[in-house]
């Protein structure tokens, strides 16, 4: 799997230069961080390159790190090359307040609901998405519940307080 990491990072480096921010193995997965303006081109290259052929989008999901200034929000794409059974993960980060993201629905129709779900949870604004609206929560909801600033339970409760146990 680490050979795969080298092959792909070499390819991304020649194509995008500084656009590839990092490449590392996390457990059994090659993980690449690319900057937001290149994300669609990177995914297109991975999908269409005859040597790579990552044609299957396994999943995508939003990430929120409120303490990483300038890179508060992120999206993780997980791709699969079924022929060689390669799996990789691509991440991209963006600052809070600039939640515009290019859509990938034209590459994979399956991204449609996945992106709607992440819009629903985190508020990513997927540009050119065919039908960007809430999917699991009700339309009247006026906040994005998966963001870290929304606690799950009533803040007045003491019995599950983090200061007592662990985080």
């Amino acid at each position: 799997m680490s050979e795969l990491l080298d092959i792909i990072s070499a390819k991304l480096k020649t194509q995008f230069g500084e656009g590839l921010k990092s490449a590392e193995m996390l457990y059994d997965f090659p993980v690449f961080v690319v900057d937001k303006k290149n994300i669609v081109n990177v995914l297109m290259l991975l999908k269409d390159d005859p040597e790579l052929e990552f044609t299957f989008l396994t999943t995508l999901c939003g990430l929120h790190f409120p303490d990483n200034k300038g890179e508060e929000f992120g999206i993780m794409y997980q791709l699969h090359n079924m022929k060689n059974n390669w799996r990789i993960r691509i991440k991209t980060f963006m600052p809070d307040g600039d939640m515009d993201m290019p859509t990938v629905t034209h590459l994979w129709p399956t991204a449609n609901w996945m992106e709607r779900q992440e819009y629903d949870f985190f508020g990513f604004n997927f540009i050119n998405h065919p039908d960007l609206k809430r999917i699991l929560n009700m339309d009247e909801m006026n906040y994005f519940p998966m963001r870290k600033e929304y606690p799950l339970e009533d803040a007045g409760r003491d019995d599950k307080s983090d200061k007592m146990f662990g985080r």
Partner: protein, 401 residues
């Protein structure tokens, strides 16, 4: 001369469509699904699915629970085969903490997972029969699910939402009753299955009803992220058990049945054949069942026996730490997927070292493939839409998380 518009013809040209609300609660959709259908007589012109009726915010809930308390959440994803979800979650955590599970525990897990795959497919295949009018097969074959639930009950005490197994292995060894029930099941089930097959498979009414009903090509299925039996019915032989063997699946000899047309009949047949393969796997696991421990030696995660907690200091400390969520968890992120009843069920777990996951994302096969539903039913009959839905085996719990 001024031309006058012929009003009568323009009115005729403007077609009248009906809007039909299929669901949210409709007996034929087997769950809470709403589809707003634009109908031209009996033909569906456009469909708009609305989901989220039983959304329970699992991803948010999981961020506030210690790892062992997340297992009951996973039960409620695909509640027709909850043991597979439980095992998938345990294996994800085991991957994160780098824990090697003994062979015996893995074989026991394989038996339970294959039983639940059978239970899942029993539901789906009989429901396809039920929706085509073959109620007898449904009522008759459904007894087998009860037998499987009795085995679950003997192993873990629960039937539907099982919370079966623990991080690091199984909670306890199978009792003698469990082995006996399993052996009786292996004797009875093939008879029931072949009888059900005889009732339905070559039945003219059933075939006319299901062949070419709601088809999808392999290419479209892949583009829509299909996995599991629905993808295999379209002719793509992708199975997580073979592609990324987990839990010793590499030790067993089994085939992956595939279909050709991706229609309701193929989806039905793939599931029937998979039940035969599951039986084959269970038989091999029983034959080759290794001796040894039924859980790994990970005292930080696996609860000690209660007698030890009362009598030994170390066991008491570990017990306290596990229950109060004081165990150190490594930092990192893992993805682990298992072949669920409906396809690749994936867990993307991100840990920052705290007692709860920093982020847990479920790759839920139902959620992903249900978005192809409008494409599959548009241009077809309303009655075919019902059958297509039941053959996709969309489980509301997994759809809405």
């Amino acid at each position: 001369m001024t031309t006058t518009k012929d009003i009568s013809t323009t009115q005729e040209a403007e077609k009248q469509y009906n809007i039909l609300n299929l669901g949210p609660t409709h007996p034929a959709t087997h769950g809470i699904f709403q589809n707003v259908l634009k109908m031209d007589g009996e033909i569906i012109m456009h469909a708009e699915p609305t989901i989220g009726y039983i959304h329970r915010a699992f991803e948010k809930l999981a961020e506030h629970r210690p790892y062992n308390q997340i297992t009951p959440i996973t039960d409620r994803l695909n509640y027709c085969s909850s043991p597979i979800n439980n095992m998938g979650w345990h294996m994800t955590v085991e991957k994160l903490i780098g824990c090697n599970v003994p062979k015996r525990a893995e074989y026991m897990r394989v038996i339970i997972m294959e039983l639940s795959r059978i239970a899942d497919h029993v539901i789906c295949t009989t429901i396809i029969g039920q929706d085509t009018g073959a109620t007898t097969g449904f009522l008759y074959f459904f007894q087998m699910r009860e037998k499987i639930y009795e085995i679950y009950e003997e192993i873990c005490g629960a039937r539907l939402t099982t919370n079966i197994g623990r991080i690091g292995g199984m909670e306890r060894d199978f009792s003698q009753t469990a082995w006996d029930k399993l052996n009786i099941f292996l004797k009875e089930f093939p008879e029931f299955l072949s009888e059900f097959q005889k009732l339905v498979e070559r039945n003219r009414i059933f075939m006319d009803r299901t062949i070419d009903c709601g088809p999808i090509t392999g290419e479209r299925a892949l583009a829509y992220g299909f996995t599991g039996p629905n993808l295999r019915a379209a002719g793509v032989d992708y199975d997580v058990r073979v592609a990324n063997p987990y839990c010793s699946y590499g030790d067993f000899d089994f085939d992956i049945p595939i279909g050709q047309n991706g229609d309701t009949y193929d989806r039905f047949m793939v599931r029937i054949q998979e039940m035969w393969e599951s039986i084959r796997i269970i038989r091999q696991a029983l034959e080759k069942m290794p001796s040894g421990d039924f859980h790994a030696d990970v005292p930080e995660f696996y609860l000690p026996p209660k007698e030890d907690v009362y009598s030994k200091m170390e066991a008491l400390i570990f017990h306290f730490k596990i229950v109060m969520g004081e165990t150190d968890i490594p930092k990192g992120e893992v993805y682990h997927s298992v072949e669920g009843g409906n396809g690749e069920l994936g867990y993307y777990l991100m840990s920052d070292g705290g007692r709860t996951p920093y982020r847990l994302h479920f790759r839920r096969p139902c959620f992903i493939y249900y978005q192809a539903y409008p494409e599959m039913i548009t241009g077809g009959l309303l009655s075919d839409a019902i059958l297509t839905m039941s053959s996709l085996n969309v489980i509301a719990g997994e759809l809405d998380a």
